[in-house]
């Protein structure tokens, strides 16, 4: 991680908020505290590993509702903290992908560990996302014919078969293939197959 991770804290209680702020800063991360959900949700997204420590009982929005709105942010793991946890609430939160569910007052070591893991997970997701975007950019730089050639060869067709399929010569197919390998920065044919499956996980399984 190049930059210290950002730890968002959303809790309406000043004691909880400020104590977490100190702890998070001490642990070397950047705390960002909010007393309610909406100002937090209006924050611009930063491409830094981050996680959210979220109180379940908030004055404006329920913590679980906040979690729902964060479905599009897989890079923002949620650690729930609550003063009054019940089982259905916990189950709902965990099913929705919560990283952790802690009951106040919590062990700070447990919280730190949870934050650390969440930030690692966030970092990983962000890296993957960044890689995928690079691959998509490269794929986008291919011509239509090059994309057709690439899709057919990763599906396992020989150059000759591709030529028949596309109504062109084997030589031409070879030339396209060379440019595809170059543009997609694939080290080998196996690498190209892997890139292709990451770009289109569904067709890769076919």
């Amino acid at each position: 991680m190049s930059q210290p991770g950002i730890v968002y804290v959303v809790d309406d209680d000043v004691s909880v908020r400020e104590s977490l702020e100190l702890l998070v800063r001490w642990a070397g991360w950047q705390p960002r505290t909010f007393a309610s959900a909406r100002p937090f949700l209006n924050q611009p997204v930063e491409r830094v590993p981050c996680c959210l420590i979220l109180d379940v009982g908030l004055p404006d929005l329920n913590g679980l509702d906040v979690q729902q709105r964060l479905m599009a942010r897989p890079d923002l793991p949620v650690i729930f903290i609550t003063g009054q946890a019940d089982v259905p609430m916990t189950v709902r939160a965990m099913k929705a992908g919560a990283a952790e569910f802690l009951t106040k007052p919590f062990d700070d070591e447990v919280l730190l560990t949870a934050v650390r893991r969440a930030l690692e997970s966030s970092d990983m997701v962000q890296r993957e996302t960044a890689e995928l975007e690079t691959l998509r950019d490269r794929y986008a730089s291919l011509t239509r014919r090059e994309r057709e050639v690439m899709n057919l060869i990763v599906a396992g067709l020989l150059n000759k078969q591709v030529g028949v399929e596309l109504g062109t010569s084997e030589v031409t197919v070879k030339a396209h293939r060379g440019r595809v390998m170059q543009k997609m920065r694939a080290a080998s044919f196996a690498d190209l197959v892997r890139i292709s499956s990451r770009l289109d996980p569904v067709s890769a399984k076919r």
Binding site: S19, L23, W26, Q84, K104
Partner: protein, 622 residues
Amino acid sequence: MFSTVLETEDNAEPDFRIAPAYPARNQEKPLGRCSYNRALTGPREVPLQSIDIEERRRTEALLAGEKRLLELISTGSPLALVLEQLCLLVEDTAEGCRCSVLLVDPRGLSLQHGAAPSLPAGVVQAIDGRTVASSWGPCAVAVRDQEQLIVPDIARDARWRDGEWARLAAAAGLRSCWTTPIVAGDGRTLGAFALYQHTAGGPTPLHQELIGRFTHLASIAIERDAHEAVLRRSQAFLGEAQRLSGTGSFSWHVATDTIEWSEQTYRIYGIDPRQRVTFELVGSRIHPDEVEWFAALLGDARRHDSDLEFEHRLLMPDGSIRQLHVVAHATRNAGGDLEYIGAVQDVTERRRSEDALNAVRSELARIARMTALGALTASIAHEVTQPLTGIITNANTSLRMLTGESPDVDGARNATLLTIRDARRASDVITRLRAMFGRTTTALAATDLNAAVRELLLLVSGELQRAGVTVRTELGDDLPHVQGDRIQLQQVLLNLVMNAVDAMHGAENRPRQLTIRSVRDGDGVQVSIEDTGTGIDPDHLHRLFDPFYTTKTDGMGIGLSVSRSIVESHRGTLWVAAHGAGGATFAFSLPARGAEAPVVPRQTRGAASAGVSTARAAEDVS
């Protein structure tokens, strides 16, 4: 009667005995001397010296008799005795007469002999119980017609001779009957005064004079007796009322220290009614703790004629304690002397039942508080958990800062300061809780209702947030303080707020808004709690404040009833101001001078101090 004697000699001075119209009994010796001179005076003008002597004797005897009768009447002798003596005196005075007095019952319907010492029992019994309207015998007729009736010869009187009465009279040897109605000062007929003779004839003027005097005497005796009967009856009523109500009366003539007690007062103090009341005697009953205070009270009472009202205790010989409530009014008698007239009531039982009632009421209030507490448990736990979380996290952070390779002392100090702040917060929550739920005794003080509202909202803020309720307060800024118990009044607020929250629980499609207002109301304060809940079913309205009446599945039905009892003990009122579908509004108003004595619950209070303050208050007013 003198004529035969007088016509025998021209001049004579004979001694002779007179058979007077009203002879004294057994009068044998000569009464005087008669002298006359025919030549000088003529037979028709005889100066009779002896008449003066006789008449004086007769008059004196009569006066003496009348005096005796009046004495009997004034000393409250029984009417039967007075009337009997009256009859005997009449019979002594008018020889040959039998006398009776008949009484008419108060409704004027029937006759009854008051006295008839010389009449045969048969005659008496035959008349007793006859109605006036029956006209049975001359007396009934005289009473009915309200006029004297003379029957000179019963056997020859066409009206009577064939009747039963005439036969009875004849059997008793009675020949004539003169009966006269006895009339009261206000014109009512009280009875009849009857004279009977064994000879036929009518009354002489002297008889008539006697009849006049004795009917008058009889009327005095009868009226006096009737008055006394009324008085005795009213005294009996009063005595019974005093006994039943446990209230005695007394008077105290200050200058002479003369104290008079009614029977019930004697009973209250447990003193023999034959004893004369002195302050020493009273003092022997006063509770030792209150002797000094009582003496001071009496001292004040001697100096200023003020009305008194106080309570004090008696220590009875058997060791029991009585609680008395005394009210006395200062008066000046004709001579200008100060005299207190008052009543003393034994309120021991009342105080005891009041105490028992208050104990029950305060227990109910406590249960209501505990019920409210139960509903708040989750919120309150949350309230405490928040600062606790801060404390633990801060303390740990502080420890981490100090134990690292390069200890961050400034950071640790900061974390420690936060720790202390959070601990104070937690402690405040506990203090509020203890104030609200721990205390059971009453403390009266000038209470700022707005502050009470704000404090309560702090306590329930967690609960309100949990229930998704937003609160708006519109608290007046010119409100007088209210004399009352802050905790009890907060309990009322808590009950109303929690009810409002419950009412809004089911309201999904509208804002859950709680509005608390306080406004000046005359010299007091009115507070209203408005919700946007489901409102109140009109069918439930009239039973809303009944104990143990509830529309909630988990309610006990004591919140509102306890709230109303608390407000009323502060001399205020609690009511439903609105109950439509848009929500309900409960309001209560409290006068600035609310509770003046602790009503819920009453401590075993020092009666002495309470008594003194009441007496002083009474003085201040006068």
